[in-house]
């Protein structure tokens, strides 16, 4: 039973509301900045090579018509979902639609590995029944196991992205640990040349240190699921630093995974914090007014 409870912690519904807004808006950004060639593929399906999921569900070959409809449906559903009005209906539209969008984007011989957590997040978010709608949902402190399960699934996928990439590094070497001492970063920089990386080419040992730090971090990443408070924050900051380094050296940003780190953040505290600040200020102003009042009385009495 305790294992079952680990998968369903009680988490405030407000965190789900924040994630809905952030992730649905992020999907719109993603469609224009990252997986942005889906509609081009509808126009020129020449290199289209359907992936397993597309074959399993017998999805039609991308065309101008179906990719345009997909685009419009996604934008509308994301905008609705982001408001937290009808978030479940919108969410159940966004999940399959965006999965298909990314599936087309990656159906030409190259698959990116930064979308796992985001795609799974879109599938689990609509499973959570909202108690309140719109703006009030951001401060809904009702703790829910359904919310906890959705959050846990996103967290697992974020961590899996790192842990499983360490596994892939062992597998590709025939289950041996040769990756961190190899010339992989040199290889990557030669193929994606830019100033920071090219400067580092002169110092292969620095690249080896980075490879070791990376793979050890990836292997230890599951620990973060059990860390709490500031230790979990340190873990998250380590990986955000890891992405910053990757962006500087290789121009690989992994933002679709990075945004899902927010599933670890206590977003439900934003509204109470904000309200507390405001009521502090209100109390302050009230005291000021009372003070003025007293002064006025004293002056009147004088």
């Amino acid at each position: 039973m305790s294992i079952a409870n680990w998968f369903t912690p009680t988490i405030a519904l407000a965190r789900i509301a924040w994630l809905r807004t952030i992730l649905y808006l992020f999907v719109i950004l993603d469609m224009h900045a990252f997986v942005r060639d889906t509609r081009d593929k509808g126009e020129h399906p020449g290199l289209y090579q359907p992936l397993l999921l597309a074959r399993l569900f017998d999805l039609p070959k991308p065309s101008v018509a179906n990719t345009t409809v997909l685009y419009v449906v996604l934008i509308v559903a994301c905008l609705i979902g982001a408001t937290n009005y009808f978030p479940r209906v919108a969410g159940w539209i966004v999940a399959p639609a965006f999965t298909w969008w990314v599936l087309i984007g990656m159906s030409d011989g190259k698959v990116d590995h930064d979308h796992l957590a985001l795609v799974i997040a879109l599938w689990v978010l609509p499973t959570v029944k909202a108690d309140s709608r719109g703006i009030t949902s951001y401060s809904d402190q009702t703790r829910s196991e359904a919310a906890g399960w959705a959050i846990r699934c996103i967290q697992i996928c974020v961590i899996a992205t790192y842990f499983l990439s360490a596994v892939a590094k062992l597998r590709s070497a025939g289950w041996a640990l040769s990756w961190p001492g190899s010339a992989v970063l040199t290889w990557a920089i030669v193929r994606r040349p830019h100033p920071v990386g090219e400067w580092l080419l002169h110092y292969p040992w620095v690249l080896h240190v980075m490879q070791w730090v990376g793979i050890i971090g990836e292997f230890c990443s599951p620990v973060i699921l059990w860390l709490k408070g500031r230790w979990q924050l340190f873990g998250a900051l380590f990986f955000l630093g890891f992405h910053a380094a990757n962006t500087a050296i290789l121009l690989i940003h992994f933002l679709p995974t990075v945004v899902c780190w927010l599933a670890f953040a206590p977003l439900e505290r934003i509204a109470p914090w904000f309200q507390a600040r405001r009521s502090d200020r209100d109390t302050g102003e009230a005291e000021d007014q009372a003070e003025h009042g007293r002064q006025a009385e004293q002056q009147a009495g004088a």
Partner: protein, 157 residues
């Protein structure tokens, strides 16, 4: 400070709901592990996280594939292999280079993509798929890359 007047309400899921959720999560983890241990990129999103996962030996030859074009203005240019350029990403060309070598007509869409996105620029009349090879010696880059033409395509109008 706002004082919490009462503990927040807790909504639990029923026994069935909880069982289904745990099963789905465990099945998902199973799919992910299966993907990483046995599957290929084809299994997306449950495939292996294999980007940059290979061990590159210290004496490797590093290949970099590009497309060079002769334009109707008589110039030779490197085709910008991205969505804004020719509408095709370099990774796609690299992943399909074997097929392009067998059937160079696949390069036609590079010319079409360029012409469509840049109607006011010189058109491509001839395309070459070129592989630049950089040699590593003891993990360091040794000298400039050597180039080899893999496929040539005279663009159809």
């Amino acid at each position: 400070m706002v004082t919490q007047s009462q503990a927040p309400e807790v909504v639990r899921v029923g026994r069935v709901g909880k069982a289904v959720r745990v099963l789905v999560a465990v099945a998902g983890i199973g799919l992910l592990i299966n993907g990483s241990v046995r599957a290929s990129d084809d299994a997306w999103p449950f495939g292996p996280m294999s980007q940059y996962a290979m061990s590159v030996p210290d004496d490797a030859k590093i290949d970099y594939t590009r497309v060079s074009a002769v334009t109707d203005a008589g110039t030779t240019v490197d085709v910008p292999l991205n969505i804004e350029g020719a509408g095709v990403a370099r990774a796609e060309i690299e992943a399909r280079s074997g097929e392009i070598v067998k059937d160079p007509s696949l390069l036609q869409q590079v010319a079409d993509g360029w012409a469509r996105k840049h109607p006011d620029q010189p058109k491509y009349v001839k395309l070459e798929l070129i592989r630049d090879t950089t040699q590593l010696v003891k993990g360091r880059v040794e000298g400039p890359p050597t180039s080899q033409v893999l496929a040539t395509w005279e663009v159809r109008r």
